[in-house]
Each structure stands twice: as structure tokens, then as C-alpha cells.
């Protein structure tokens, strides 16, 4: 990990208290002088993971660049709920062009900064999963291939949410969406290759690729800060549960994100120049049922006779991830071991 | 206005030939236009290019349908393409071949034209000799200068020098000069034959 892992034992929960931490370890959100890049007043749903993730990510990027930042946003929930005409909740320089071109537009902004000698001004591009893995994929690959100086953040809520929850290339197997209804012999999204966007980013050999979730916001901030220390194309894939689209309770957003990690379904790691360099290990290995059963997009797997075969399939995916990334360390973390001795 | 049409195959520098000729005319203070007929570019496919030379600005953008001169860089085209289409009866023809016009079987067909304006020139052989490569385009321009006197050999040499550099340019000029002299001699012979 980029930063020292923090152990919280104060209460029997995952509640985190900043007042226990050194100033340097505190979240940027605890700083009254934070940028508030995405300020209050936006129209996101209650419990929106993307609004949460974007606020943390952009404030971290603003901190890392001393406020010398331009953001480019693809069409999608974030863009729509943050700029309801005639208002904007962005306090930073922000550009929205189209759905599929955020990476290319960001490349253009970065080129303008370079040609004008404004090398301290950095560029962040952000999009949902659709704007990243589907319609934006060609442009994203181009930006990666040229190693353009852009940090691209994908807020992955695993479907086209703003248009009414339709399947995207990032929709996981078995999930119900409006275009992969839970009906018929193969309910929900069919199993396929799937687009493993973090690994596709790594395959381009770019300087930095990382995944994160809104369950560990310190980690998200750290990764954004780490990314902004580097130049060239960088990619951050953030899992952001969508209560509406996933059918989870709006108070469960962080819990759902944590379960995605703890089951192994969403590996959290960092990679440098195409090679995995660190992994956030699972604290309590959890069966996928705990994660799936609190989202009504998977309800069809559990109602009536249910679909234990699909659940088993999903469990197999989780197990494969755990194996591949080494997400479970039999003897727990080194730190913990040292603390216990 | 004097209109030239070039026929050749992709890879033989037909387009460059027209361009160089237009540069030569330009260098002499005239107006000139050169452009290719835009077939799918493919080595070996028939290619046509055009050049217009005039003392007034050239406005026309149509292909050269009534050429005053034809330069045929690849003799195999004669039986494949109607290369002589639209040729003025006062027209000039310069064919890249080591054969004579009669040996090509064109003697009768070309009977309606001025005999001394229809010549062949072994440009590929000259190119091989001087350049080491079978690129006859600049060479033929030397022959053209002698045949039509539309441009001087000096202007052709200048245009070659603007297009190519170093030894490539030098050798092309030498080859073009050789072609020029060949054509001059051929013309003299034809004249002698005519007066005899």
C-alpha cells in the first residue's frame, strides 16, 4: 500500500475517527480549507456512491496540485446531477463535452497546458463505466497509448444508470438491468468475457493503474495523491455502488462496497507500468451471498428455488480473483503480526 | 495553352513527372498546373496525370481530354488503355521504349499525325544506365523538352533539382540530358529522311 495501514480497534465496528490520527494521516475532507470541488447542492440520489467518490477524488487531486487542476467530465450521472441548469456544483475549472470523448478532450486540455508552458496545471478526466469501457474505450486506449498526461478516473456503478439502469460492458454476470431483465432461463446479465478495465489499462503499460472503492476513502485519496505525483497516463477505477440501480439501501452504500472487496469480487490493488505492485488484502473472507443478497439486482438468485448455480459461478469468479491477486494472506498483514508480538 | 497527358503505371513516377514539368514551366515565368487522375493508388495499376502550361492563369479543372502532347511511360498500356484519346492532330507523342514507332505497330495508326512529332525514347534503359533504377519519369521530360520545345532543358534540370537532391538529382539530369540529345538526333534524322 502507498500509505501505512491504519488499524481501528476502538469499537467493534469499522467506524473511523480522524481525531485518532496524525494530521498528515487525516482525510482531506476533515480540512476546513479543502477545495469542495464538488460542492453541496448537486442532485445526486441519497446514498450515491459516485458523488461520494468524486468529492474525495477531486479534492485529493486539488490538494495534490495546489488547486492547479482542470477536470473533464463525460456525460453521465455525475455530469448531469452536478450541473442542473442554471446551477453548477463544481468549484473547479470543469468541462463537459460528450459521452465518449472525455479521454480525448482531456488530452486536448493537457496539450494546451503544455504548449502554453503551464506545466503546473494538471488534468483529470472522469467518466462512469459506460463512458470508460464502452463508448469511451477507443479514445481511452488512444490516450493510454500516447501516454498523455491525464489521470482518468472511472466511477464504476456497473451499468448505464443515468438513462435508467441499462447494461454496460462493466455489468457483472447475473445482475439485473433494464436490458438484462431477470426473466427467462438465463436471468440477468449473461456470463461472458467481461471487460476487466484495470487489466486492460495495465496492458497499455501506463505508469499507474489502481482500483479503489468508496468503502476505504483514505485509500481512494491516497491513490489519487499518488497518481498526481506521476506524469503520463494514469488510470483509477473506483467502485461506486448505486442504490437505485443496484437495489441496495441508500444507507448501505459503503457497506456494499466493502463487501465487494471482502468477497474478492472487486480486487483492490495498484499497478505500476503494467505490473501489480501492491494489494489491499481481505480482512474477513466473505461468501458472495452476503454481498449479492442485499442488492435487489440479484434478488432473482435467491427467490423461490433461486439460482444456486449462478451464485456458485459468481463465487468461482471471486475465488479466482483471490487466487490471482493474492487477496487473502493466511497469516494476516505484517503490521498486525508485529503488533501482536 | 499547351496540355500534356502522362500515362504510366503506379510506381513509375507519373504524378511526379507532371509536377516537375509544371515546375519547369513555372520557373520560366509561365503559369502551370499539374494534377493526377485519381485512380486507386496501387503499384502497377494504370495511372494518368495531367499538366497544363499557359501564359495566362489557368482556371480549368477538368482532366486533359484533348492533349497537345502525350508522354507514355509504360508501353504495355498502349493496348490496354486508349492512351491516344483526344490527341490533337498537331499533337506530340513520346513513348518510353527502345523500339521504334513502326516496331510497335503504330506506324499506320499514327499516320494522320505529324510523323516527326511521334517519337520513342528508351528512357528506362537510360535510367538504368545513369540512375541504376528503372525510373523513366524525369528522363522523359528531357525528351519532351527536345520534342516540343515547350520548356528548355535547363528548366527541366532546375525542376529536377528542386524535386530531388544530391546525386539522385544529378544523375536524373544527366539521364534527362541524354534523352534530350537522343530526341534531337532522332528529329534530325527524320528531317533528313523527309528531305531525301
Amino acid at each position: 500500500m502507498t500509505r501505512r495501514s491504519v488499524r481501528f480497534y476502538q469499537v467493534g465496528s469499522f467506524a473511523v475517527g480522524n481525531r485518532l490520527l496524525e494530521d498528515a494521516d487525516r482525510t482531506i475532507q476533515s480540512d476546513p480549507n479543502r477545495s469542495d470541488s464538488l460542492d453541496s447542492g448537486h442532485r445526486a440520489c441519497q446514498g450515491c456512491g459516485e458523488a461520494l467518490g468524486a468529492r474525495y477524488a477531486l479534492d485529493a487531486a486539488m490538494r495534490a496540485t495546489n488547486g492547479r487542476l482542470i477536470a473533464v467530465n463525460a456525460t453521465g450521472c455525475l455530469e448531469v446531477f452536478s450541473t442542473p441548469y442554471p446551477e453548477t456544483s463544481w468549484r473547479i475549472a470543469w468541462l463537459h463535452s460528450l459521452f465518449g470523448n472525455a479521454p480525448a478532450v482531456a488530452t486536448g486540455v493537457a496539450a494546451a497546458m503544455k504548449v502554453k508552458g503551464m506545466n503546473d496545471v494538471r488534468v483529470v478526466a472522469q467518466a462512469g463505466d459506460g463512458g470508460t469501457v464502452d463508448i469511451g474505450f477507443g479514445c481511452l486506449s488512444g490516450t493510454f497509448e500516447r501516454n498523455d498526461d491525464v489521470l482518468f478516473i472511472c466511477y464504476d456503478n456497473e451499468a448505464y444508470m443515468n438513462t435508467g439502469v441499462q447494461r454496460s460492458g462493466a455489468t457483472p454476470p447475473g445482475a439485473r438491468t433494464a436490458t438484462t431483465e431477470a426473466v427467462g432461463p438465463n436471468p440477468g446479465n449473461v456470463f461472458g468475457q467481461g471487460k476487466d478495465m484495470p487489466r486492460l489499462a495495465m496492458a497499455h503499460g501506463i505508469p499507474y493503474v489502481a482500483t479503489a472503492t468508496v468503502a476505504d476513502l483514505h485509500d481512494l485519496e491516497n491513490k489519487v495523491s499518488r497518481a498526481m505525483e506521476l506524469r503520463g497516463a494514469r488510470y483509477l477505477h473506483v467502485l461506486v455502488p448505486c442504490p437505485l440501480g443496484w437495489g441496495s439501501a441508500s444507507c448501505d452504500t459503503i457497506k456494499v462496497a466493502r463487501l465487494a472487496k471482502e468477497t474478492g469480487l472487486f480486487p483492490v490493488f495498484e499497478a505500476v507500468n503494467g505490473v501489480v505492485t501492491s494489494v489491499s488484502t481481505i480482512r474477513h473472507r466473505t461468501k458472495v451471498e452476503s454481498y449479492l443478497s442485499i442488492q435487489s439486482r440479484y434478488r432473482h438468485l435467491f427467490t423461490g428455488p433461486g439460482r444456486p448455480d449462478i451464485v456458485a459461478h459468481i463465487q468461482a469468479i471471486a475465488d479466482r480473483n483471490i487466487e490471482r491477486y493474492g487477496l487473502v494472506d493466511g497469516a494476516r498483514d505484517q503490521d498486525l503480526r508485529e503488533a501482536l508480538t | 495553352m499547351f496540355q500534356i497527358r502522362f500515362h504510366g503505371r503506379g510506381g513509375q513516377g507519373v504524378v511526379t513527372a507532371a509536377e516537375m514539368l509544371s515546375v519547369a514551366a513555372f520557373d520560366e515565368g509561365r503559369f502551370a498546373q499539374a494534377f493526377p487522375s485519381f485512380g486507386s493508388e496501387r503499384t502497377g495499376a494504370p495511372v494518368v496525370s495531367f499538366c497544363r502550361i499557359d501564359s495566362r492563369p489557368i482556371r480549368s479543372r477538368e482532366p486533359v481530354l484533348k492533349p497537345d502532347a502525350l508522354i507514355i511511360q509504360d508501353v504495355t498500356l498502349i493496348h490496354q488503355v486508349d492512351v491516344f484519346a483526344g490527341l490533337s492532330s498537331e499533337g506530340y507523342v513520346l513513348i518510353n521504349t527502345s523500339k521504334s514507332v513502326d516496331e510497335l505497330g503504330l506506324g499506320d495508326f499514327l499516320g494522320t499525325f505529324h510523323r516527326e512529332r511521334l517519337l520513342t525514347c528508351p528512357a528506362t534503359e537510360l535510367a538504368l544506365e545513369h540512375l541504376g533504377r528503372p525510373l523513366p519519369n524525369a528522363v522523359l521530360l528531357g525528351g519532351f523538352a527536345a520534342l516540343t520545345s515547350q520548356v528548355t532543358l535547363e528548366s527541366i534540370a532546375l525542376a529536377i533539382g528542386q524535386r530531388f537532391s544530391g546525386t539522385t538529382a544529378e544523375r536524373n539530369v544527366v539521364a534527362a540530358t541524354a534523352a534530350y540529345q537522343l530526341v534531337v538526333r532522332a528529329e534530325e534524322e527524320l528531317e533528313r529522311a523527309a528531305t531525301n
Binding site: I70, W90, T107, K116 | A85
Partner: protein, 417 residues
């Protein structure tokens, strides 16, 4: 300096002298020579400071231009045909955002059937997008229009596309006076954006606009184009003074003063038409030609004025709206609807078919003899058409029309024109 060079080269050098800061493009015939030349200049350090970006698609090319322009850089790109269509979403986006991007459109037919040769269907596909569209008659004008385009675009905050006929102009070598750097600098001030992404003064660009305000925003962009109708002639006058030759403007007339028949056209075909006009004049016919240089905004008033004495107007254009008819003809008809003249639409030169002086003169003959139909497809091979229609009539599975027509034509490689 006056040089005998390729049109593309002249455009590249002129664009370079306009000091673009971000240039990006995706290669497509027949624009390639322009972009290659600019790329080489940047790489060799001759054009600096400039970022030259090889993008992965035309959609990316316009998108990069959008980002660069919004961030305050002078942005330039070039495309044609299919490429224009591939970037169409971004083309509308650039106009809607009011970004002064300049783009060269090397006019080429749009498929299917795939065709790399010249016509104006690509420009027509973008005519409603909010870009100013200028059409060059010669390579000299093509080069000059780029200088005018940057100035026009940045003054109005409207993107401008300079249309030049693919292959016919881009690949033609002729005498072109490429403007000198000092003269361009004097004519074209630094880019001072009306809106810009600046961390020091953050604004949001690209908000969603609902029914409450969309009409007003679009109307404002329409007004900016109408402003162009004033600014274009003013800039053309300034250009003529500064560079010593006329270029640009809205329309220009040739021998129309006492003309009873006037031809209207755009682009390089005007040269051939002028030769035809001179030929007919020598025979005593009172004919003239009006060249439209600015197609969008459409100069209704100037077109009316230019055609005021004509009895007969023949619009010759390289495009048509399928199922409708001529596009330019419709605009000219609209401009002259209350004038007493007969309008003829001639669709010619599609997919690169040569428009010959001979054919133009035939059209003029037919017009004079009052036997020119209201819509003509010039040099149409009726036999081929009829043969395909018969085939379609006989068989359900008649196969793709394009392939059938090509089989009927036989070998095309041996054709000249």
C-alpha cells in the same frame, strides 16, 4: 512567396503561419498531405510552440481540439467524408460550445458505396451544425481562407471549416503565394478566448440546458452566424489590402452584369465554368457565373443581388439530398423565390466524376434552348441505370446495386477522365 507547390502543402504552410498551438488529426484520403506536412514541421521544430497529436480516430481529433480550444489554445484539425461523419457528434458539440476551431475539409464523397473522390456531400452533411462553411475556388484561395478562418472564428467564437475539393485542389500543383509569417502575424492577433478553462478563475463549461433556455442559446449562435455575414466581407476587404489579392468574401460574380443566364456553383468547378462562360460569351451568349464562397451562413441578400438581372439560373452542384434534390439549388431557390427567374438544378461531379467544359456548355445550350429540365444529373448513363432497374424489377434477390453497376461497366482502370 509565389511557389509552384501542391495545394495541400500550401495549406499546411499557411496554417503553420497562423501559429496553431494544438494540431491533431486522423489520416484520411485526401487530407493526408496537409497533416503530414504540418506534423513534419512540428517535429523539425519549424512550427513551435505546437503540440501535434496523432489521434486514434476523427472523433478523437475533434475532441482533442475541443479540449485544447476550451483551455485557450488555438486548435486546428482536418478531415474529409467518412471522417467528418465519424466526428459529427463532436462537430455539433464544438459549435454548441462556441469554440473557434478551424478545420480543413478536403471534400470527398460519403459512402456507401465507398468512394475516395471529390464531391460536396460531406460538407452538406454538416451544414446545420453551426459551423461557418467557406468554399475555396483555387488553391490560392484555399490557403488564404485559413488565415481568414482563424480570425473569423476567434472574433465570433464560432468554428469554421474551410472546404477545398479533395484531389482536385489538394493534390494539384500550381502557383500559390503562401502568405509570409510577418503578414499573417499582422493580420491575425493572438487567440484571446471569450471563455476559457482557468484554475485561477474556475467556470463550468458544457452544462445541460433544458427547455427553459435552449432556444435562446441556439438563437444566439444563429445570430453569431448572421454577424458573420457582416464580418466576412469586412475581413475580405482587410485581407485584400494587406495581401494584395482578393480572397474570401460571401459571393463573387463573373460577367454577370448583363447576363440573362447565370450559373451558380461552389468550389473548384468554378474555374472550368468560367472557361465555359468565356467560350459562350465569345459566341454572343449573355452568360455569367456566381461563385458562392460562404455557404454557411447562407448569404441570401448577396445571392439575390448577384442574380437580380438573370432570367435563368442554373445551379451546378456536387451534392444532392437523396429523395429530395439539389441542396445548393434549394438554398438558391429559397433566396430567389420571389424573383421572376427560372431555376434549374444540375447535380454533377458526384463521387469525383469529372465536370467537363464541354458538358457545361451543353447545359448552357439546353438552357438557352429552353430544354433543360428543372433537375438534371449531368452525364448520367441512363443505360446503366435502366439495366439495373430492370434487374431489380425481374428478380427479388437482385444483389447490391453498386456491384451490379460495376460489373456492367467492366474494367474502369483503363478510363482516363
Amino acid at each position: 512567396m509565389l511557389q509552384q507547390i501542391e495545394g495541400s502543402r500550401a495549406v499546411a504552410e499557411t496554417v503553420a503561419r497562423c501559429r496553431p498551438e494544438v494540431v491533431c488529426a486522423y489520416p484520411i484520403s485526401p487530407q493526408t498531405h496537409i497533416i503530414e506536412a504540418i506534423g513534419a514541421m512540428v517535429k523539425a521544430g519549424e512550427l513551435t510552440p505546437c503540440e501535434f497529436i496523432n489521434v486514434e480516430s476523427e472523433f478523437a481529433a475533434m475532441s482533442v481540439s475541443i479540449g485544447a480550444s476550451a483551455a485557450g489554445a488555438r486548435a486546428y484539425t482536418a478531415t474529409a467524408s467518412q471522417g467528418l461523419l465519424f466526428m459529427m457528434e463532436a462537430v455539433y458539440n464544438a459549435a454548441g460550445l462556441g469554440l473557434p476551431i478551424v478545420m480543413t475539409l478536403a471534400n470527398r464523397a460519403i459512402g456507401a458505396p465507398i468512394n475516395i473522390w471529390n464531391d460536396h456531400s460531406d460538407a452538406m452533411a454538416a451544414r446545420d451544425a453551426g459551423w461557418i462553411q467557406l468554399f475555396a475556388e483555387t488553391n490560392q484561395e484555399a490557403a488564404d481562407l485559413h488565415v481568414l478562418a482563424f480570425r473569423l472564428a476567434e472574433e465570433l467564437s464560432v468554428p469554421v471549416m474551410v472546404c477545398m475539393d479533395g484531389f482536385i485542389l489538394t493534390h494539384a500543383v500550381e502557383g500559390i503565394d503562401v502568405p509570409e509569417q510577418g503578414d499573417v502575424d499582422a493580420f491575425l492577433p493572438r487567440y484571446e478566448p471569450r471563455q476559457v478553462l482557468d484554475p485561477a478563475h474556475p467556470i463550468s463549461i458544457g452544462a445541460m440546458v433544458g427547455p427553459e433556455a435552449f432556444t435562446e442559446v441556439r438563437y444566439l449562435s444563429h445570430l453569431r452566424q448572421l454577424d458573420a455575414l457582416e464580418l466576412i466581407p469586412a475581413l475580405a476587404a482587410k485581407f485584400a489590402l494587406a495581401f494584395g489579392r482578393p480572397s474570401g468574401g460571401l459571393v463573387h460574380s463573373y460577367r454577370t452584369d448583363d447576363a440573362t443566364t447565370v450559373v451558380v456553383a461552389m468550389g473548384s468547378v468554378l474555374g472550368t465554368i468560367k472557361d465555359a462562360v468565356d467560350q459562350r460569351r465569345a459566341l454572343g451568349d449573355r452568360v455569367g457565373v456566381v461563385g458562392i464562397t460562404t455557404f454557411r451562413p447562407f448569404p441570401f441578400e448577396e445571392v439575390r443581388r448577384a442574380l437580380s438581372g438573370a432570367h435563368r439560373v442554373v445551379v451546378i452542384e456536387k451534392a444532392f439530398s437523396v429523395g429530395y434534390g439539389g441542396v445548393l439549388a434549394a438554398d438558391v431557390a429559397s433566396a430567389t423565390h420571389d424573383m421572376s427567374l427560372t431555376l434549374h438544378s444540375v447535380v454533377a461531379g458526384l463521387g469525383g466524376r469529372a465536370i467537363t467544359q464541354h458538358s457545361i456548355e451543353s447545359i448552357l445550350d439546353d438552357a438557352a434552348a429552353a430544354r433543360l429540365p428543372s433537375v438534371t444529373f449531368l452525364d448520367l448513363d441512363r443505360d446503366i441505370v435502366n439495366s439495373e432497374r430492370a434487374r431489380i424489377g425481374e428478380r427479388r434477390r437482385s444483389g447490391p446495386s453498386a456491384e451490379n453497376v460495376l460489373s456492367d461497366l467492366g474494367s474502369v482502370a483503363s478510363r482516363i477522365g
